[in-house]
Symmetry: D2
Subunit: 327 residues, 4 copies
């Protein structure tokens, strides 16, 4: 269709494509409003799109992000259609500053699709962190876990079908479906809040399953607003935050010499000194990790060859809804 709205060819290319995530989930960009140019336009409160060069737009966007002037980035909006297991949906919905319409289990019969982790994702409780995953577990355990998963799900699915066939209200029939059951929703969010979502959910401390969704959304954002995406990678994702104590430790190691930085000859900050600066053992670990090495960065590029049309998932979902001949 023809439009006078600002458009973005890289975003148009993926519009309406459904990208698979996990075993039965997906994320699709169904609409977007604005791009990097609109962030600049709002920041300047200017009349229309001008003759600004990309390098100027880039500079402004980086300045805004660095100084946390986030309101102009609220002027870009993305609308997504997504399907995910309920336990993922429950983490996702904690981000309140978004618009959401979820399929209703009171109104509709639900497709009986369940998430089954891949072997490499069946991991032990993290030993260093008190939540999250650590070491991989033996394959023999995986085989037995799969068998048990199947058993619970089969029983839950049979129970659901049994109830709806006896005309039990759907809002009750569903109450024993497991948290691994897939649900789906439309989700609309502005760029500022999406970047916050990605900072939290693309982080290695996030649960693997929601990270898989965040990764695809980051790839979509890269096409809608590439300069904003780049600034987020540089300042948030691969940047860090330092406390006063951490900063003071560095000030003892580094000297400002004119417009250069120099290592202060012979300077060393040991464990006691870090403790004296107020850093707990855990904070020292965190500081050492920050300085140890540059983490390899994901490029978040989408693989278009994996994308499917809407109909593909519409059919899969439809086929998984139980047939009801009421008894």
């Amino acid at each position: 269709m023809e439009t006078r709205r600002p458009t973005n060819p890289a975003a148009e290319e993926i519009l309406g494509l459904y990208f698979p995530v996990l075993d039965h989930g997906f994320v699709a960009l169904v609409d977007y409003m604005g791009s990097d140019e609109d962030v600049e336009r709002a920041a300047r409160v200017s009349y229309g799109y001008g003759t600004r060069r990309t390098s100027e737009t880039r500079g402004l966007i980086r300045y805004l992000r660095r100084h946390r002037h986030t309101t102009p980035s609220e002027m870009v909006e993305l609308k997504l259609h997504c399907a995910m297991p309920i336990f993922v949906a429950r983490q996702w919905i904690r981000h309140r500053t978004a618009n959401l319409n979820e399929v209703s289990g009171r109104y509709s019969l639900l497709p009986l699709l369940f998430y089954r982790p891949e072997p490499q994702h069946l991991q032990a409780q993290s030993a260093t962190n008190r939540q999250g995953r650590g070491a991989e577990l033996p394959r023999a355990l995986y085989a037995e876990a799969v068998e048990r998963w199947e058993r619970v799900r089969r029983l839950a699915a049979e129970h659901y079908e049994w109830l709806v066939q006896r005309d039990v209200a759907r809002e009750l029939a569903r109450i024993d479906l497991p948290l691994s059951t897939y649900t789906q929703w439309y989700w609309k969010i502005d760029l500022h809040n999406l970047l916050h979502f990605l900072s939290v959910r693309a982080d290695p401390h996030a649960q693997y399953e929601i990270r898989a969704f965040a990764r695809v959304m980051a790839g979509m954002l890269k096409r809608v607003a590439p300069l904003s995406f780049e600034a987020w990678v540089d300042y948030e994702l691969t940047g860090t935050h330092l406390s006063r104590g951490e900063l003071d430790a560095l000030r003892r190691l580094v000297v400002v010499a004119g417009r250069d930085l120099e290592a202060r000859p012979g300077a060393r900050v040991g464990a006691e000194e870090l403790a004296a600066l107020g850093l707990s053992k855990r904070e020292v670990d965190e500081l050492l990790a920050k300085l140890a090495s540059t983490p390899a960065a994901d490029d978040f590029d989408l693989d278009l060859s994996t994308a499917r049309p809407a109909e593909h998932f519409a059919r899969l979902m439809e086929a998984a809804v139980p047939r009801v001949d009421r008894k």
Copy 2:
């Protein structure tokens, strides 16, 4: 403790009491800020608490509600500790304008408590509405449903215990727990948003299980801000909204005579006339229902004899957490 903050004796009386809801859930008021007087103080932006009579405060609060001046009611805040089945939690959390901390299944082992409906709540899918419940179902069906519920839950619980005993990360072990599993959270909300929550969730169209929670919260609010509660009952809960078409129908039936209202002699508005006013068949049904009779109103009074101390529920929850001897 001694305080210079505004307090409310009726609210103090229930502070920290845990009111049971459904088979294993509860709602407790753990803190509150302000009451009806503070709504007035904010509306007038006045200095301190004055010599206003209750009748004046009541008049102002009713005026504010009638004219949807809702910002002063945002000045009162309630903090609750609640436990509810996950499928209830999922409806509840759709109210975004609240603060919430839920127990983490990534960090903690979860108590294995599941919601089992009472016989009278096992109802058929509503025939008139396309969601919700209608007729009660045979007791024989209930007996079999209970047996099936027990089977699914026993298996899901065993599976959860089996996984955590093998040190599988808790964030994964939980994914086959059913939606009937109880969770709990702290929830803090202002009076304006709580009234909106209650309007939606104490409504007969809400699912029975969340209504049971809304009912108790309404009883708590009645003690924190009784005049605001009364205005909500009169204007929202037992009031109604009329469209232009409905209003035009009534204008044909009722005459304003000075300061009296009179039935217009011989006036009758039939089905065709209602259709001509733009009312669909469904809207006509709704209008007839509104005018048919005054619904019996719940008084929302709390039964203090049912309340338990925090320790009661703390013990029950603790006892339901699986014991783990890691294998």
Copy 3:
């Protein structure tokens, strides 16, 4: 430009046109996301746009509005560029659920444009209401008011120019500009929140000046989402809310007879009876007014002949910025 996003010809027609409001203000629709079809798509969580007929979409949208299922309407978004006097901006910004970028008086020199009311809008303090306007005032008074307005503004403008010419920080130089000074912003809001804004600000109780802006925005919405607009007019703008007491009064005057409504023969509800139903004198006045007559409804159609290109206002604003040769 070519797009795969949903577009709407009636909205495209006004995209980027600047509609004048008051003496120097404007509203322009600079982008939009979605329309009525997208409300339906979100409500059904359906895959893509289908073969639904407009009459079905209309029925669903009216049902959603009637039952306050407002989340699907959050899926439509409008972005506006607006200029308004600061006292209007201060009322506008009370609507918190929107995105906003205002021109910065710390960074930029401000155009010195001031709002001057038309003679018919110089009205007395309302006698019936304790805020708002009542009777029109004598033209002689207007002439003198204009002269005084001019004097205050001339002095304030001179003072601003004098300070910025002496290099006083702009954030300080501006502090004596009057509330009638024009400011401008980009404002982005979803359909649900825009309808709430319009309900409050297109209401006769709103200050005339902000109503003038709401009127134009309603006309824009009518082009973006005509069915949602129509439902809002029928259920909100020209509908009403009745309290329990008001409803009980009507139940005494009207009988439900099968599917017809009949005036109850000889029924009359007088002042004492209304008082006994709990209605204050003021509420009785409000009820009589609701039933008296159908108010003439505005059609909110935009007059395209008044629209100007962005450059028109860009030039006017630019010309009103003081020239600074720093002294």
Copy 4:
């Protein structure tokens, strides 16, 4: 009064005291909900207040802040009564996640009090920054500025009085009051959003006048939730954020040696190398400033000797409202 609500002696001590800010403004803490213990209780979703030691609470609160787990801090709420010039109110209200009731100029006659800057605050437009203030200006200029301020305000005040005496609607009479006019409001905000407000508004880049208010609010927060306050000072206020490029520069200067940090012998990162890491000239300036020295930190302690009772300000405001004998 006696309460079972959690209380905090240091907060009780200042409850209801009005602290002067600028020439006619104030901030008063009128109510609060919860303190550091309640942040912990919500984070643990625990039953009641326990036997936790302060050092454990402190450790948890610092962990939460460091890892941006901000939801538990939303469980603490502060309610303030504040008076400030309108240009300050306009910056303040941009923080949308708060509850607010402002005095209405449509309903009430406004006190005619205006903000006059002190000599040392009449500064030039910043040369390095494109907003904000730089060098102080000559006292001779100040004397003339004061004279001009007085003239504008006197005229605006006379105009306001003239209009209201002729019964012109207050909503219109006020439109030529300058932005320096004082207004007042009740403002309620949770701890998480208050800390964000303080990060932005206690920052040296914020306009001096709003910083003066932020300073007092920080002092109040220090009494309500001292551990949360301390964590905010250490991690936010005196901490910093580093981009990938900045972090990479530091990695070239500092070596992790076991659990010690060492300056890398002879390491130097010059201007070209910083540019090669992606830092613009402005970012290099910012990095050098971060490492140069530890800024002197404000302790934010309140001076109780300046506090006044509510009646003091109530009288001042009342005395500044114009007397109206309608003509």
